[in-house]
Amino acid sequence: QDKRVVTWNADYDPIPLAAAEALIADFEAANPEIDVQLNNFDHEAYKNAIRNFLTADPPDLANWYAANRMRPFVEAGLFADISDVWADNGLTDALASSVLSSTIDGKQYAVPYTYYQWGIYYNRDAYKAAGVDLPGEGGVSWDQFLQNCEKFKAAGIDCVTTGSSALWPVAGIFDYVSMRTNGYQFHSDLAAGKISWTSPEARAVFENFGKLQPYVTANHAAIDWQDAAALLVQGKAANYVMGNFAVGVFKEGGMTNDNLGFMVFPEITAGIARSEEAPTDTVHLTSGAKNPDDAKKLLAFIASADAQTKWNGAVGQLPTNKNASVDAADPFLTAGFQALSTATGGIAQFWDRDADAEYAKAGMEGFQQFLVQPDQLEAILERLEQTRLRLYPQ
């Protein structure tokens, strides 16, 4: 019973938790001398708890998010550099799509093991009810989409729904409009505070965003994303810009593969390479780890194609390891895998992971406000610009 212990703090809901436990079992089977102790937290509480346990009582491994979300911990020296894990296991290649988001100052601090695609989920019944043609295989064009919206509006159906009381759902829409208008690099620079909100490019984004605005569910600011999902399920709304995790909710509400559809967000500016949003979940080695060597073994295992295939298969998300495979029976996963693997423009994390926390919040408030009060555009832009100048002094 002299096993070496690796401790791992995580924030899984029941289904991912079971998958993680299976993953641990596999790892322990392969490494019988190591005992992995998973300490699971409530998802919301975890965001708070991690700040405490990293200092007070650090585990070996901790779940968190990539990109800017991990930056404070890296800067405080709480997450350890694991460039060696990447190098030793050839991850730079296997996890190619996630290299950028795992890297700070040229060093890797995270092992990404799952992501999920965003896109437009739609209700075929609603399309039929409004007499709108169903989108084809490659989605619809922007103009077509807006025309459809006009028809939905006439039929009393919300063309685009969302529930923004928690703010982040609007960021999804904005990100897509932004990437489709100006491309991935623009999104990335905007999130990094490098682009002025009053620049013509930014204005162009809002102009397109504004075209969508009249068709978005009214009162979205008062409801949660699940409430909005109910609207889609009930056919009161036709399209929903959401992440793939919402599929479970749609299906719980009674939708099936027959009437739930998925398409990528329409192209706006022609010729821009398509990029997609796919927030990545990661595991990190802490600086205070007591058993870093075995922890790194586990990290490498988590990064492996087999482990990712299995875990994501159980959870219904996409593996980050390009050598892993997805469940072909799930049309949404395969569609997502397809969309992401052909996203030549790049993979974005999500507004609130690409941008610094405070900046992210200010931005999302601006997006939400714009969707409620489009006439306030100037004021919104000016405020955002001020925030930007304060946070990123030129």
Binding site: F41, D42, E44, A45, N48, A49, N52, A56, D224, Q226, D227, A230
Partner: protein, 281 residues
Amino acid sequence: MFPRPIQQSAPAVRWLYSIALPVALLLWLFPLLGVALTSLRPASDLAQGNYFGMPSGIAWENYVYIFTETPIGQYMVNSLWVTIPTVIGAVSLSLMTGFALAVYGFRGNILVFFMFVAGNFVPFQILMVPVRDMTLQLGMYDTWYGLALFHIAFQTGFCTLFMRNFIKALPYELIEAARVEGVVEWRIFWFIVLPLMRPAIAALSVLVFTFIWNDFFWATVLTQGVDSQPITAGLSSLNGQWIAQWHLVSAGSILAALPPVLMFFLMQKHFIAGLTLGAVK
């Protein structure tokens, strides 16, 4: 005496009043009644949009559900773990401080007293960061006793104010009489003051119980998991999970409201006496 007793007015007015009373009450409690009703609606009613019509049946299963499928029971137990020690701690501490402040005219007495009063009004927010930090450092973050300890400390301010005023209102001659009779101070406290404080203790206990039970802010700040979060914070996080399941939210709300409401009904006299005596919170 004001307004004029209704008995003295015309029969029509009296009749009107007797009608107006229940109507006003119904309107006043309407939101509460609505929630109580909703908590007993089957989920199917809500799904069909039957939010306000006759429920198609009484769904006790909503309550069964939240007890079996969610940790609401645990939350309630946590609440008790926080509330009961706080009531006992704050009340017994303040009995002593109150006695000292009321009976002995030591120097700085009034200053200490005003300190307690002022502390009582302080916005929680100014305490939040340091208290949270301190609790963390002491390793009591996310434990019921960390939360209870803070509550005891904070409530002692209010309770002392209350107790002191109550003891001050006791006839001072009682204490003098006992002194002349040769009774030592702590016995005066034990045999004379304490028995007379019984109503105050009851009132204060009820009051503190509701305050603590209903506390949300500190529950959010000092606890976070199912293992230690009290019902208010628990309900708030369950609310995050029960999107659009208003029958569950309602049932949870009713459950969370029940203990203080029961307390109020059982100890009504003390409760109101406490409020008007202490009057500040």
